[in-house]
């Protein structure tokens, strides 16, 4: 049989530096490296390499690097090498192309075309090292009016709220799609940081009930692991209607990953495929959603805010408007760059819209309708840095969700082979010897470090804008200016062009 595919990447080993310690060989689950005893040297098979950089990072003498192989077909502006390779793959396998993580294609990244303001002369920047700088947020619906008792005292009529030390949460990644140790890292980091993490649709491992006050439990179309104890263990409940990486389709965790505790936590037999249907089969319309929202509220005594998570799609503003009237306390919107453990490549790369536009549209629409206070808006789908957080809040988000950034903090190198199940970094795998590569003591600390750093940066950016409380940044679009954007894009984002 002809092998049509030439490796995209090539491992370059500097034999002057290689001491044949074999750490690369021992650490590669894809069996790329091999020690040749007779020659006392390590050789590699590039065709197996997924470019995850585990060997590169662990090589004690920096003898390894990975470069583009450079093998190319005849140049063609229409038929890229990638397109041709994909055809070879499908012609060989007859299967749907699969990918992990978010859409990597060259669509505009609006965050990179938005710039922040700073105070000069007419009002002073505020130094976060000298003055209090508040990043605390409270998510949830806000009542229409103040109520008082017969003595004139204000009655606390606020529906359940989520309190966060900063406008940031870890978004849904199921136990099963990521490892036990990755989950433990997220849970412990969320606790230490005073934020929340999200179970995803795989249920909540019994070991993690202790982190319940910092946990969002998800109810997805497969209803894996959903029971009253699970719902009540949480700080909030999220109904997952859709996901940015694969709007409109369900999920499929192969039976090979449904082992031991994962099967138990998901409440399904070991070895059975965990299939999440594309729709919730009890939600075919907005009025059905309202029923599920209230079912969950009934099950939890109206003590937990309910989030409805949707993928950013074309008519997102109308959908959001419907959700804001469904009794949900929060809307989570996942942009088309959002990550996933596995998605059909064509869907990941061609469905959905950028989160910046979806957010701007939804925030405006809900304000125009006077229902913005009915819900908080949480956005995810590629928040990559503290400045993305600041820009998202200024566009109108109450909080953001991060997931890919959190995985990267724990070691992920975005090799996008999560679906292979052999994550060398111990994140997207259930193979015990790989899972143990992520020591939660280190993983959690790196997450805490990352967000502590972001928090410092957010405070610095707020301070230079003369803002000392995050709520004064929310929807403050005058703090933003666009560059390299069309009038139409500026109009949708609700911002002015730089210089105007």
């Amino acid at each position: 049989m002809i092998n049509y595919l030439y490796p995209l990447y090539e491992i370059v080993r500097n034999y002057d530096r290689c001491i044949a310690c074999r750490v690369c060989e021992r650490q590669c689950a894809n069996e790329v490296h091999e020690y040749i005893c007779d020659a006392d040297k390590v050789v590699c098979d590039d065709s197996k390499c997924v470019n995850c950089h585990r060997c590169v990072a662990l090589c004690p003498t920096r003898a390894l690097k990975i470069v583009k192989s450079g093998n190319t077909y005849r140049e063609n502006a229409n038929w890229s090498c990638k397109t041709i390779d994909e055809i070879y793959k499908q012609a060989g396998s007859g299967g749907v192309l699969l990918s992990g993580m978010g859409n990597p294609e060259k669509y505009p990244v609006y965050f990179d075309k938005i710039l922040l303001n700073a105070s000069q002369v007419t009002n002073p920047p505020i130094d976060p090292l000298r003055e209090p700088m508040e990043t605390k947020v409270s998510l949830g619906a806000k009542p229409k009016a103040v109520e008082r008792d017969e003595n004139g005292r204000i009655i606390n009529n606020l529906p359940p709220q989520i309190k966060l030390s900063m406008p940031l949460m870890f978004s849904a990644m199921s136990y099963g799609s990521i490892s036990y140790n990755a989950h433990e890292s997220l849970a412990r980091a969320a606790c230490e940081l005073g934020i929340l993490y999200n179970t995803g649709e795989g249920g909540l491992h019994e070991d993690f009930y202790q982190y319940g006050n910092n946990t969002i439990v998800q109810v997805a179309s497969g209803r894996f692991g959903v029971h009253t104890g699970y719902l009540n263990a949480s700080a909030a409940i999220e109904i997952k209607m859709g996901q940015g990486a694969k709007p409109g389709i369900g999920g499929h965790l192969p039976g090979t990953k449904i082992v031991g505790d994962i099967a138990k936590t998901r409440m399904i037999p070991e070895g059975s495929d965990a299939i999440s249907p594309a729709p919730h089969h009890d939600i075919y319309s907005i009025e059905d959603l309202r029923q599920l929202v209230y079912s969950l509220k009934e099950a939890t005594g109206y003590k937990k805010p309910v989030i409805v998570k949707i993928a950013a799609v074309h008519n997102i503003t109308a959908i959001a408007s419907g959700i804001a009237r469904s009794g949900a306390d929060m809307i989570a919107i996942d942009g088309f760059r959002g990550g996933t453990g596995a998605a059909p490549t064509r869907i990941r790369d061609n469905v959905g819209i950028p989160i910046e536009l979806a957010l701007a549209g939804v925030d405006k629409r809900l304000r125009d309708e006077g229902i913005r206070d009915n819900v908080s808006i949480v956005v995810g789908g590629s928040i990559r840095s503290s400045s993305d957080v600041v820009k998202a809040v200024a566009l109108g988000a109450d909080s953001v969700y991060i997931a890919s950034a959190a995985l990267i903090a724990m070691g992920c190198h975005l090799c996008r082979n999560c679906h292979g199940g052999k994550c060398n970094w111990g994140i997207a795998t259930q193979i015990p010897e790989l899972v143990k590569r992520l020591n939660p003591d280190l993983g959690y600390k790196r997450l805490v470090n990352l967000l502590t750093a972001w928090e410092h940066e957010i405070k610095e950016m707020m301070g230079l804008m003369g803002i000392n409380s995050i709520e004064s940044l929310k929807g403050n679009r005058l703090m933003l200016r666009g560059v390299g954007l069309s009038d139409r894009e500026l109009e949708i984002l609700g911002i002015k062009y730089a210089g105007s």
Partner: protein, 362 residues
């Protein structure tokens, strides 16, 4: 008319206020003198006054002060007013011709009461009905601008230095229990007559010194509640926030201050339980009404005056007392010029509300 962009870039404003807690009426002469001392804090692009208790004979009627750019605007506006209000009295506001004040629009005053039938049809309470009508005029009738709409009070403002504006409006001929004044050094709006301060809605009037950094967050939030920020000034949005919190949500001025210049979370943490709960509630419920960035404001209202600084105290403000009178100003000099021997002088802390009401001072 000078537009923003043609003027020098700004740095500040001056505010001053005098309040008689017995309700005794004084002439407008002193407030002009007070604001005149702070001449250098303005740049001649706007000045104005709010005076309370000046129309005792019409105290049950809304006093509309309106700028007209043209006779046509006046005709359209009066048509509108006649359809919605009983007009008890109308007249030109008397002014003194002077070389310092030019390009004045037509300035008219109406004492009105909502037509009972129209009011009933609208299903609104009376004050909300008046607010809606004021917004209608200001957004839909080209060349007409209602800049004062309260009972037994009036706003007088123009492009010019504030002391000239006071003399232009013959303020010394009015007598009231409370006056506030503003000298403007425009920051982010063109220096036109309507844009001068005070900014007023019903009997709320606000004079403000500062440039708030939360502006667009506040604006977009308040516009959701039916307000229209046509001037794009800080003062306008602050006035609407105060109207929303105090009139629509029924918060006291103290509670209002706890929203717009909220105590820091670290301060709230240390409060006694009941107080803590209230403050947590107010900050959570009205997060979008928190104002950050520098401001010092004087809020006039029927029977009272409130002064407030931003919570970091990024703008100056001095309070002084002498007998029944309380003076609040950007600078102590502006108080000393009219009352050299004071009983006491102090500076409120950032976020500390100073609320003056008749015979009940806090």
């Amino acid at each position: 008319m000078l537009r923003e962009g043609e003027v020098r870039i700004p740095s500040g404003c001056a505010v001053s206020g005098i309040f008689d807690r017995t309700g005794g009426r004084m002439s407008g002469e002193n407030i002009i003198k007070s604001i005149e001392v702070m001449h250098d804090r303005s740049n001649g692009l706007g000045g104005g006054f709010a005076a309370y208790g000046i129309y005792p004979e019409y105290k049950d009627f809304y006093a509309f002060h309106i700028f007209y750019d043209s006779a046509e605007a006046k005709r359209d506006c009066e048509d509108f007013l006649e359809r919605h209000f009983d007009i008890i009295n109308l007249s030109k506001i008397p002014v003194r011709r002077m070389k310092e004040i030019t390009d004045e629009p037509k300035i008219w005053r109406y004492f009105v009461a909502p037509l009972p039938t129209r009011l009933a049809q609208s299903q609104l309470d009376e004050r909300e009905f008046v607010v809606k009508c004021v917004f209608r005029v200001n957004t839909q009738i080209k060349g007409a601008y209602v800049f004062s709409s309260g009972k037994n009070m009036g706003v007088f403002k123009a492009v010019g230095f504030p002391e000239d504006v006071g003399r232009f409006y013959r303020l010394e001929e009015y007598a009231g229990y409370c006056f506030t004044a503003h000298g403007r050094y425009p920051t982010n709006t063109p220096g036109w007559w309507g844009g001068a301060h005070p900014f007023a809605l019903l009997d709320y009037s606000v004079v403000h010194n500062g440039e708030i950094s939360s502006y667009d967050a506040n604006r977009r939030a308040i516009e959701m509640h039916g307000y229209k920020c046509t001037l794009q000034t800080d003062t306008e949005v602050i006035t609407y926030i105060i109207d929303y919190l105090n009139r629509k949500q029924g918060l006291s001025f103290k509670e209002t201050a706890a929203v717009i210049a909220a105590p820091f979370w670290q301060t709230i943490e240390k409060m006694p339980a009941e107080q803590k709960e209230t403050h947590e509630y107010l900050r959570t419920m009205f997060a979008s009404q928190l104002i950050t960035g520098p401001f010092s404001i004087l809020v006039g209202f029927e029977g009272g005056l409130m002064a407030l600084n931003d919570r970091l105290k990024l703008r100056s403000m001095v309070v002084a007392e002498k007998g029944d009178l309380t003076y609040i100003s950007s600078e102590e000099s502006a108080i000393r010029i009219i009352e050299p021997s004071l009983d006491n002088v102090w500076s409120p802390a950032g976020g500390q509300v100073v609320q003056l009401t008749m015979n009940n001072e806090q």
